[in-house]
Amino acid sequence: NAQKVRVAAAANLHYALEQIKKQYEHEHPNTTVEITYGASGTLIQQILNGAPFDFFMAADKDFPLKLQAKGATTGPIRTYAFGRLVMWSSETNLSKGLNSVLLPTVKRIAIANPIGAPYGEAAVAVLRKYGLYDNVANKIVWGENISQTAQFAFSGNAEIGFIALSLALAPQMKGKGKYYVIPATMSAPIEQSCVLVKGWERNGEAARFMQYILSAKCNAIWEEYGYTK
């Protein structure tokens, strides 16, 4: 008999997760995985108001924690992958690393809004840490989320964008520009966590899918799309 897993996932997991879904459904022919992508903030608001999701995959660790604090989860919060922060540009030479933000040709720098977007928070932190933030503060434009930040840079309106490595590797971005991965020593990888939503028990398949996500079977896919384990 057919089973269904309903997943609420952060928008930037799109590529990797579609791949995993395909692989999982192939291995479990009786199960369909239904994934709703959205901003983590939107997704939790929905979960807290009874949205029919079994499993929540966030782009950071904060949102699952918030969900847990409200008592809407069961079981532990698990980290499924680490994301890396990169600088991306279509034309600017990024060979100077982080200091590229000071180049005179750079008129606009796109960063995700630190309220709610972990990559934005990380970008601001690293710029502050190396004393660059105040120099470039008036060049920053804020994206609603990491996708929009990428769109700012991708459309060429911002010379540099701080985005996730996973986006820099997305088929659309690939080859359209260059990226510089901020070393783990400068900016710690971003922990991306998931958690089962209360009420999933009605649908035992969800726990199995979570185990699958965390298992080694997915490692190759995660890495292909720019995540580390």
Binding site: N12, H14, Y15, T42, N49, P52, N145
Partner: protein
Amino acid sequence: MYSEFIETLFVTGKLAVATTILLFIIGLPVSYMLAFARFRLKILLEALISMSMVLPPTVMGYYLLVAFSPQNGFGKFLEHYFDLRLAFTFEGILIASVVFGLPFMIQPLQNGLMSLPESLREVSYTLGKSKTTTFFRVLLPNIKPSIITGIAMTFAHCIGEFGVVLMVGGDIPGVTRMASIAIYDEAQALNYTVANRYSLILFLISFVLLTIIFSVNKRHKV
């Protein structure tokens, strides 16, 4: 991939048609009242109807979601007495889109009714016709351009509506996922080739439908 998008088009069409019909039915008495009845606070009511445009759609959607939640008064009432949950159902987004489409239907209708010469109503009354008969046989047929505007605006707005429906509907494929949400998702994933193709399809279909709606106006113009 495509078949999924076709599915969203069906849901979108269903929502847009249902919303437009419901709003037309609701809009008739409300616009009549706003056009002809005299009561204090009428202006406030008029302003209130437009207020749904003022706040960000997702935030409005959130408020609606809270109202629908079985943990709160209204939602509890529905769950208890009707075993009904509105959030994340087609009925839920239908209600949301009706509420947020109000100004698009009511404003044009009210406007049309107000600009009719008073003597049309008066003469119909002296011919012994009730207010209802007068409304349907005399007033409405004479504000056809306003009706068309109301229907076109409501319909177009409903197709493009996005924030409220996304929040209240939860983007469930085949149930509450709209074409506009699917396009948004693809754009968010930077899948521009797909997003553009979807946009084009939605654009063309809407364009044809709106052209048909507007051409009704033209054909019947006096």
